[in-house]
Amino acid sequence: MIKDITIGQFFPGSSPIHKLDPRAKILILLVYIITLFLVKNFFSLLLLFLFSFICVLISKISAKSVWKSIRALIFIVIFTAVLQIVYNKNGTVLLKPFPQFDFCITSGGVFTAVFLVLRIIALILLSSLLTYTTSPTMLTDAIERLLSPLKLFHIKVHSLAMMMTIALRFIPTLIREIDIIMSAQKARGAKLDAGKFGERIKALISVFVPLFVSSFRRAAELAVAMECRCYTDGANRSRLKVMRFALRDYLAFFICAVIFAGALVVNYVPLCQSLLFERVI
């Protein structure tokens, strides 16, 4: 299970999405998330969902890895849907399985459940696309540049970005290490995947203590290795890859602006709503 974690994974490629300036990708994602939470209208949502879906297609990321990122959060998705179906009492009653109880499934509940599921999946799709198509170094570089105005407040933006780079770099390493430690502890008779919940949590201590110890050792060694490569505080560093907004970035901004604006117009302009929305219900 632990190997399924895909956070911060990057699949090198040469699709248009890969080639976009990472700063553009971050900004677009931000606006996308905001728009996604503003829209209350099914057609707007569908438009945004299609947008993220098409982006995934363009990026040529394998369906398997996309599914992996959704599966990681499937519990939350199902949980939200079930909650809506059980507790939402709006709309007409569709089903009343137990006549003696006050429990019923309503059209409003089902509608909101589908709406929320689509919204969460759209969110996962586009956010995971960001890390799938951007190398972690580029990503943190972009964040560093986007946050650089914070330098005015004496915040060490570079250190933050370096921390992120290292954290992302060590995720796979530490995952493998957890696997090794778990196997080692199981070989010594630790019951990691049996027993009551409380017992299992206690058993995990035997995994996390060695993990912490080795992480500190790794950190110390990495610090020395970085010093050997003349790292100081990162004040005067140049870059292998210089970021410059190109035509395709402006084009992407434009396309996204049109789509997001479209979604908002459909959402807020009453005429569109009466044309599309109410006919469905």
Partner: protein, 284 residues
């Protein structure tokens, strides 16, 4: 001929602070000189103090007493810290803990980026370094998917991209499989022979020392003996007192001699032994 010396230890002692009460020295009164272009192997068993030498050589550790000079610069002077590290690169045992970035070429670029070089220059150095270690076609791969030997070659590329005059490798093969070990050794020899880089290889594998220009044998924090591979490996008794073994071929030669095969002294490489045996059979 001061200019020919790249690295010079003058009566260097070093103690880890926490051990100060016991007054146990990691290295004691070590002196040696390494000339530019030399291939040096430092041999010693675990805990002999050989790893401390690596960190002393580029101002990571400062000597408790004595002086370390890198190309004439004293490592304990603060302004010399960065220039010393530019001259002498150090590669450590665990490649996983030396790689900073997730993508091969981005990791190799880390050093040149720290030197604040222009973008074109970084690009050129990264490509050159990756070609030198034979990892150019892997430049866009993720570092965590590489094998141990490949990771270690990326770590070496990360150092040579800074174009140091010398490279110190602290047991670079200790965590690798035989294939990875062979690759690293080949890489290191290429750096020395073709790029003229000074190499200091710290190890406890005897086989890695066979082709060195000189060998330093470290035992109990001091340099016990310095010499060519011939000189060092012809004294099995001495090596044993230092907690070291003969190279496999030399061991085999001793056994053959005991069985009555007449062999000349100083055969340490498999190739030399095969050649000698073939010659003898042909004569017979």
């Amino acid at each position: 001929m001061e200019q020919d010396t790249l690295l010079k230890f003058e009566n260097v002692s070093y103690t880890y602070e926490e051990e100060e009460e016991n007054n146990r020295l990691a290295v004691r009164n070590i002196s040696f000189e390494i000339k530019k272009g030399e291939f040096i192997v430092v041999l010693g068993h675990n805990g002999s103090g050989k790893s401390t030498i690596a960190k002393l050589s580029n101002s990571i550790y400062l000597p408790t007493s004595g002086r370390v000079l890198v190309d004439g610069m004293d490592t304990s002077v603060e302004e010399n810290e960065i220039p010393c590290r530019k001259k002498i690169g150090v590669v450590f045992q665990n490649p996983d803990n030396q790689i900073v970035a997730s993508i091969v070429e981005e990791d190799v670029a880390f050093g040149p980026e720290n030197l604040n070089l222009p973008q074109k220059e970084i690009r050129a150095r990264v490509d050159e370094a990756l070609k030198a270690v034979g990892m150019y076609e892997y430049r866009l791969h993720e570092t965590h998917r590489l094998s141990g030997g490949q990771k270690q070659r990326v770590a070496i590329a990360g150092i040579i991209a800074m174009r140091p005059a010398g490279i110190v490798l602290d047991e670079p093969t200790a965590m690798l499989d035989p294939k990875g070990r062979a690759d690293i050794l080949e890489t290191v020899h290429t750096l020395n022979k073709e790029l003229g880089m000074t190499v200091v290889l710290i190890t406890h594998f005897m086989e890695e020392a066979l082709h060195a220009d000189r060998i330093f044998v470290i035992n109990d924090a001091v340099v016990e003996r310095t010499g060519t591979p011939d000189e060092i490996f012809s004294d099995a008794a001495f090596l044993e007192t230092c907690g070291l073994e003969l190279p496999d071929t030399a061991k085999l030669c001793l056994l053959l001699k005991k069985r009555g095969v007449s062999l000349p002294d100083r055969i340490f490489t498999p190739e030399a032994l095969i050649e000698e045996l073939v010659r003898q059979t042909e004569r017979a």
